[in-house]
């Protein structure tokens, strides 16, 4: 399977800040990732991350993240103007 790299911003709501989400992600989906920046405030966390894996692995991981309440967006954020 062809491996690709995709870059995302993950924003975590308050309730998830203390959860080890990226650790779970690796365990569940066998993805490689690389954190390029992170900031946490009182009510949210923001992580810039690059995933490496097959398209399918990445899709499944993103679906799981959304399901648990993480907002996943390309690093370009909203581009529809």
């Amino acid at each position: 399977m062809e491996r690709t790299r995709e870059r995302y911003y993950l924003s975590y709501p308050k309730v998830l800040i203390k959860e080890p989400i990226l650790y779970q992600l690796v365990k569940k989906f066998d993805l490689m990732f690389n954190i390029r920046g992170a900031s946490v405030s009182e009510d949210m966390g923001l992580v810039a991350v690059e995933f490496e894996g097959t398209q399918e692995q990445i899709e499944r991981a993103l679906a799981w993240l959304r399901q648990i309440g993480v907002t996943v967006e390309p690093i370009e954020k909203n581009i529809i103007e």
Binding site: S11, T71, I75, K77
Partner: protein
């Protein structure tokens, strides 16, 4: 000749060559065009610029293109209107409207950013330009691409009205509707930009695209006689225009075109899409994405690409920001049209409604110079005010019917004034 020295990461400062690249490989920060201001300072003067044609390329030295471009020969240099009647109504003596409702050729401020992006696309040798848009951006890209002789592909989310599609296809653009929500469209477009090597004006050409927004600020200063206003109120959607107008004001000082003055830069968002204002009011640095819900579609962006830089520019200038509800937006559109004969789209209603709030909060004083930014034309968004118009009277084609109506209304300003 060009005075551009390269691209620079706004976060970590790493340098990159001029290329169709928009994020830093190291930290994912956005890249921005850097200039040799010392050389520009020697090359420009107010007198020289005033001799040039009335379009946005009169500030060529501060734009990221190599040669005088062929795109957008009539874009920009829109009127700065001194609005006495509106000013009197609000109690602001020196009130101005920067009127991009008449920008050429597609009646919105997007003609500025797209002129620059497509000029750069041609320099880079792209054959196809693209964007994801439901409104003003799509129209501007399609029109400028037609004029530049480039292929154009526009992506739109499912559910867009037929009229919006015509706004692009009429120029020969190919429209692709993507099934899925806005997040899916965003994600697919970044992937397509990456894989197909097209010029996506607000993705891989974003550093050049956003520079075009500076011309809005350059023009305001020039039209005020090479001075800054004390306040400018700008709308925020993706976060392009506000930080770039602040940058424009800084650059004018840097290159000696203006000598002094400080302008407070204020941010206006629709209440139904106000992630930046929420962060501003909370004193936060991080912007929590929202799901937009407002009639102001052209500024309904839940997670603005440059929202952080909007916050920073507002705070650095000691400006502020407020939201306007849909009904406040419509009232402001009507007020501007009724007093000054300018019909703004909801983004313009938003900036005017927010200006009124800032005045009430005494963040703006009535004796200061204030510029309200009107970034798009109301004729393109008639549906937004459709339910808010005054209903016309209907009569038979007989004079006595009109006589009766006149009698009934006599004393009301609308008809009595004509007698």
């Amino acid at each position: 000749m060009s005075y551009v020295t390269g691209l620079k990461c706004r976060e970590c400062g790493q340098d990159y060559p001029i290329s169709p690249l928009h994020v830093c490989e190291t930290c994912f920060g956005p890249l921005e065009v850097a200039y040799d201001y010392a050389a520009i300072r020697k090359a420009v003067s107010p007198a020289a610029i005033e001799q040039r044609p009335h379009n946005l390329w009169r500030y060529l030295e501060l734009l990221p293109v190599d040669a005088p471009p062929q795109i957008g020969p009539n874009s920009g240099f829109t009127p700065l209107l001194k609005v006495e009647r509106l000013g009197a109504e609000l109690g602001i003596r020196n009130l101005y409207i920067k009127d991009d409702t008449v920008n050429h050729p597609t009646l919105s401020y997007k003609d500025r950013v797209v002129s620059v992006a497509i000029s750069k696309a041609r320099e880079f040798g792209f054959k196809t330009v693209s964007c994801a848009s439901t409104g003003n951006l799509a129209t501007a890209v399609a029109a400028h691409a037609a004029r530049a002789g480039l292929q154009c592909v526009i992506f739109m989310p499912e559910g867009v009205e037929a009229g919006k599609i015509v706004g692009s296809t009429i120029y020969g653009a190919q429209v692709v509707i993507i099934r899925g929500n806005y997040d899916d469209v965003n994600r697919l477009c970044s992937e397509i930009a990456d894989k197909y090597g097209w010029a996506f004006v607000n993705i891989n050409l974003r550093p050049y695209y956003t520079e075009g927004a500076k011309t809005f600020g350059f023009e305001v200063a020039e039209q005020l006689g090479w001075r800054l206003p004390q306040h400018i109120v700008l709308p925020t959607a993706g976060g392009t225009i506000l930080p770039k107008v602040a940058k424009a004001f800084r650059e004018l000082k840097e290159v000696g075109l203006i000598s002094e003055g400080e302008c407070r830069v204020h941010c206006a968002q629709a209440a139904g899409a106000a992630p930046v204002i929420q962060a501003l009011h909370k004193g936060a640095d991080l912007i929590t994405p929202v799901k937009p819900n407002t009639i102001a579609k052209s500024i309904a962006i839940g997670n603005p690409a440059d929202g952080f830089y909007v916050l920073r520019a507002v705070r650095e200038s000691r400006g502020w920001g407020e939201v306007a509800s849909d009904s406040e937006i419509i009232e402001a559109i009507k007020l501007l049209a009724r007093t000054e004969g300018v019909f703004a789209e909801p983004a313009g209603g938003t900036t005017l409604a927010v200006t009124i709030k800032l005045l009430a909060q005494k963040r703006i004083n009535g004796d200061e110079t204030v510029v309200v930014s009107i970034t798009g034309n109301g004729y393109k968004t008639l549906e937004a005010v459709g339910n808010a118009i005054t209903q016309p009277y209907v009569i038979e084609a007989r004079l006595r019917e009109f006589d009766a109506l006149f009698e009934q209304l006599n004393g009301r300003r609308s008809l009595a004034g004509a007698a």
